[in-house]
Symmetry: C2
Subunit: 416 residues, 2 copies
């Protein structure tokens, strides 16, 4: 494949994770080492930074401070939720992107995100190819939801899963401390895929997990929930229940919508905004079973808890970023970095490439055979899948008893 | 003081913390070493375990497993919220306690708890003295609320403060990632005292703290909240606000009651149950300012997050437990262990004793002069007070990527 010289842009998109910056670092450090690359730019707030000419020159960041982003949560360059139109109907944004790419001599574009971001990458890649502008576009997967297809798992998931499992252990200890009858409902992120909710099952191995786990993969029935919970309450008084924010009934209606007294907004991708489900289910259980009940929504905490990130996840996120650059340098484009897990008892994981178009807008859900028959718990194959992903502790520095997160200078790039 | 031989009971009461078990360990290990002590009993669920003859024989626990409770959150022996009557009007419970103490030859009673628990200790101590039953009763302070008087601070506070400050840093990074205008409201425990809410200010030193902090010490005004938040939003788009669950208006009415559509229960001590305030304030800000808003209630997580406990807090909690036993062995009774901070720039802390009756039912609040004039932020003296308490990381073991918490055998005690 032809050697391609020029600059590169890296951007971040969608909901942040504890390790999305590790992927940026892997990509940026590889780019800084490459003699094909003149400048390494960071896009402020993802693709909107390219559209609005807000690029940072990462070449002039202090390398030691830059290295700290590996352990810094959220999206250090800023994120966005911006959906590109189909360029066949409206090419306004695409023309602006092409103009920016030309002005900054951008030949490599890396985008860290979920399936919506892969859709963005796929569209830009197609547009640039159609306009004969040589630019290699590689997506780097990122999502606590773990719902991307064609990859064994997604960077970001392991850390969120570790947070969820750790928190479930701690909350279980706390919620059962009085032994006078209680229901605690924990609500976990994941609209359509229950991977993160399922991670609570890792706590069960320690005898400190939830008693019931409801994933969006299984139609949720309020009467079954009450019957399951009442049975558990009878057996052991204090009950911990974990639900996905996205549980739906057999008609596909969100359970959260049953209780909604505030009209729900939709985000820019048309996803319904969730919230309040845990408190509402707890209140419902209180009414029906007559026990004290409490709802806890893990909310943003589960996607930004870098202090308890998985070392495996951090290293794999970094590896995904580096692999993205190396693949592009070697000639690949229009691809997403994916993970393949080696066969055999010992866990190991290597990177491969998937076609962007195959990843964009598709979703991978928890297989039915990994969920118990009653649809309220996980089975051993899930544990074997997820447990390797939460191994190891972060090397995050502390300073004065608190995390020492990276702070970049973010100096505006100048056109070449 | 006379040498007193017999057995001892230790019990835990009130809301658990990340380090309440460290205090139990400090006390139990000292008792196990003492030649005054025949048996060391743990009361199942605090004073209710003594009343219901549910005692564990801690003498026969595996010492290595017992040592792990130092890093295990929640109350390992179980907790209770049980208020003793005044024995002048109803001595039923007291007679049962006295009977149990006689049957088990209990000459030392240690109770780890907050001000309600110190009230319990004080009453039992008075009753036993009146009945000429020699028994030394020592309270060991414990509360994430940090609201006990006559002690510089309380075991449990440092760890909860470290969790709150760490979480505020992580949430601030996440909540500001889109930079398209948002208000994030975090709700933190603390009915009357704002110590834990104030701990969010420790994150501000890192440039990642909340923009506004509202404590229950300052009357809360919805119009001021909206004006403050709108101003911060205008300045920087994304705003993070921290509120105490216990904020009240100038008439003393809880702000949470403004929004309440579910009748609030009261707990056994007559405290109003809180909840939903963050979401309601967020929704109110959304309506008034017209920005996206989200409420996050830290809920139980802030009192059980042992994985991010403060080493200083853990060691001091252990020290308080040991000091309780040593004081009792040396002849003290009817006292609570308290902390005194040494003068001078370097932090150090030693134990003293306070009279139970002076601690029971009193509350220490954040001094007005540590809060800024506008009543929406903390000043440097608070930071100097709180920062030493969050120093150091826990030595909690991990196993398979998750905490390895203690699991005791809890073998029922037999009468002597």
């Amino acid at each position: 494949m032809e050697r391609l010289e020029g600059s590169c842009i890296i951007g971040q998109s969608g909901g942040p994770t504890a390790v999305i910056n590790a992927s940026v670092l892997g990509c940026v450090e590889a780019a800084l080492r490459s003699d094909c690359i003149r400048k390494v730019y960071g896009a402020a707030h993802g693709i909107t930074g390219v559209l609005n000419d807000r690029l940072y020159d990462l070449t002039i960041e202090d390398p030691a401070e830059l290295a700290r982003i590996k352990y810094t949560p959220s999206a250090i360059l800023g994120s966005c939720r911006y959906k590109l139109a189909d360029f066949m109907t409206d090419d306004t944004d695409y023309l602006r992107l092409l103009d920016a790419f030309r002005r900054y001599d951008v030949r490599y574009f890396f985008y860290v995100g979920g399936n919506d971001s892969m859709d963005t990458c796929s569209k830009i890649s197609a547009f640039l190819a159609q306009n004969d502008y040589a630019c290699r576009i590689i997506g780097i997967p990122k999502t606590i939801d773990n719902d991307l297809v064609l990859t064994d798992h997604c960077p970001g998931y392991g850390s969120a899963a570790k947070y969820v499992a750790t928190t479930c252990m701690e909350v279980s200890l706390d919620a059962k401390v009085y032994n006078n009858g209680s229901v605690t409902v924990l609500e976990i992120m994941g609209r359509n895929a229950g991977w993160l909710t399922a991670a609570s099952a890792l706590a069960c191995r320690k005898g400190l997990g939830p008693d019931l786990i409801y994933l969006p993969e299984i139609p949720f029935d309020l009467a079954d929930f009450i019957a399951d919970t009442a049975r558990a309450h009878e057996r052991q008084r204090d009950v911990v229940v974990v639900v996905s924010e996205g549980i739906r009934d057999k008609n596909g209606d969100y359970i959260s919508s049953y209780f909604s007294d505030i009209s729900r907004n939709k985000d820019d991708f048309g996803h319904a905004q969730m919230g309040g489900l845990a408190a509402n289910l707890a209140n419902f259980a209180h009414t029906k079973i007559g026990v004290k009940a409490r709802g806890i929504e893990l909310s943003l905490l589960q996607r930004c808890a870098a202090h308890v990130a998985s070392a495996t996840d951090i290293e794999e996120a970094y590896m995904a970023g580096r692999a993205a650059f190396e693949a592009a340098e070697a000639g690949a484009g229009d691809k997403m970095v994916a993970f393949t897990r080696a066969d055999g008892p010992a866990y190991s994981c290597k990177t491969t490439l998937a076609d962007l178009v195959d990843v964009a807008n598709a979703e991978k859900r928890v297989p039915r055979e990994w969920i118990n028959e009653a649809g309220n718990g996980l089975l051993q194959p899930f544990v074997e899948y997820a447990l390797p992903l939460i191994q190891g502790e972060t090397a995050l520095e502390t300073e004065d008893g608190l995390p020492r997160f990276a702070k970049l200078k973010k100096i505006a790039a100048r056109e070449v």
